[in-house]
Amino acid sequence: MIRVEGLTKDFGNRRAIDDLTFDARKGEIVGFLGPNGAGKTTTMRILCGFMPPTSGKAVVAGHDVIGESLDVRKKVGYMPETVPLYPDMTVFDYLKFMADLRRLPEAETRVDEILEKLGLEDRADGYIGNLSKGMRQRVGLAQALVHSPEVLILDEPTIGLDPAQIIEVRNLIRELGREHTILLSTHILSEAQQVCNRVMIINKGRIVAEDTPELLQARLAGAKRVVVRVSGDSDGLDTAIQKVAGVTQVSKIEDGKIEFETEPGRDPSPEVARAVVEGGFSLMEFRPIGLSLEDIFLQLTRDEPAPLEMASEETILEDPELIN
């Protein structure tokens, strides 16, 4: 559905994206993950025909984004990050306008359908300017969906929403993923984890890692993190844990609560548990939390080019330790 090869875009002297290569298959939800300014929006804008790349090739829904831009635009639904809408139009008129631009037959029926799908029926005659942020986001989605596009490109679809709305939008995206190929960008890692089949971490215009959220986490987080909580006297707990072989780092969170990290590929949890009990502490809680995608993300995007090496698929698959 989306195939990108060596895509590069320069703005003057600044290289926004640098030799990107990836693909997204039909029915996949692919997440673009990266800090602000990593090149996510630029890539998406190129894929939906807003601007041409400096070099490289991108094929979306079977059409080249440069040579067949209009065909690409017919088959792509796009929601920009800022969710641009006309505040002085009603929801219905706006969607009707977008449907007309896409020359949909029976546009009004289609608009009614999409309003219903996104739960906007009772807002149809209200002005967009009066809608809440969450509702505006839905209108933005409705606009991107009105022509049932094969490919849906969503730039930061949950930014600025409250937690309830975020969950709502995520569920909606998951649902849409059954019918559409979706490329979405986010800088919230848990979102990528929850919604996407596949995640690409992008930094400074380059893809630094790509995999399913689970494998990304597993392969990059051979190390584990465990929370230990005891009741009563906890003096000396940290030193007791520190002594166990395989424990790399011990940090005290609060009185009676300690976190330790393990060496990658090695799990000294039983030994630690025994040491805690034998040290005379009353063990209340022993909970592995794993390194979150958040930590991995920071690791990958904090340092300069170093992470590139570890992104190679072969080494990961051949090295059982990294998989656990």
């Binding site: 796009y78 800022t82 641009p84 006309y86 002085d88 139009m89 631009l101």
Partner: protein, 247 residues
């Protein structure tokens, strides 16, 4: 054509829900109405003076120098400010369809507003004997519409350069005033010496209107002039959008 119409239609309808169109229309009807009244009064004082259609269309054309920018400034500048330009440029329409659609929407609005001023010549026709000249009436309105078409096209092109409406407004007004009031004098001052007076005179925006169309002279070169300006401005507007895609 479908896409142009979709854009134009939205634009046209939207004007009626914004105050700008009403302010512009009121300004036109009020000022032209006052001039109309004064002309009639003057005719009663000054025997021998018979006001014609030029007494109405002349000031109206000048007034449009300032009012057309007010209508056109938002066309593309606001799309840029709102970010909705991103939706239009990722919709399956060509850039020139967008530009012409915007032009058509604003042009239709001004056509609507100006058409209503026909009331004044019709009233005048009742007051003067033996009625007003029909020739200048037809060619005058035709000229006015051609002028408006060119002015709106210039406005659209300039609006595509800005995301700030006030900047677009002032620039459009500057360009129109320059074409209207400055090129003529330039032609008179440096024209004869440089041997370009014919060219400069041809470029003068108001000459084609006041010395020909408004007095009932239909000359093809005048029609070509205004049409060329319109087409050129729309072309430049399209170019400006295309260039901005690349940067």
């Amino acid at each position: 054509m479908h896409n142009i119409w979709t854009i134009a239609n939205r634009e046209y309808k939207l004007y009626f829900s914004s105050p700008v169109a009403y302010v512009v229309a009121s300004a036109i009807y009020l000022l032209v109405g006052i001039l109309f009244y004064l002309n009639l009064q003057f005719a009663t004082i000054q025997s021998g003076y018979v006001p014609g259609v030029d007494a109405i269309l002349g000031p109206l054309a000048t007034l449009l120098l300032f009012l057309v920018p007010a209508i056109t400034t938002r066309l593309l500048a606001e799309e840029r400010r709102l970010g909705t330009i991103e939706l239009l440029l990722t919709a399956p329409i060509k850039d020139w369809e967008l530009v012409i659609g915007k032009w058509l929407g604003a042009f239709m609005l001004l056509l609507t507003i100006i058409s209503l001023t026909i009331v004044y010549p019709l009233l005048l026709n009742q007051f003067v004997e033996p009625g007003i000249d029909q020739g200048p009436l037809v060619s005058g309105y035709l000229g006015l519409f051609l002028i408006v078409a060119a002015m709106v096209a210039i406005g659209v092109a300039i609006s595509s350069l800005f995301s700030n409406q006030i900047a677009a407004f002032i620039t459009t007004m500057f360009v129109l005033v320059f074409l209207w009031w400055i090129i003529g004098p330039i032609a008179q001052v440096i024209g004869p010496a440089s041997g370009n007076s014919e060219l400069l005179n041809y470029l003068d925006f108001q000459g084609h209107f006041f010395s020909n169309l408004l007095v009932g002279v239909l000359d093809l070169s005048d029609l070509v002039y205004y049409t060329s300006i319109t087409v050129l401005a729309l072309f430049l507007g399209t170019m400006s959008i295309e260039i901005r895609r690349w940067s």
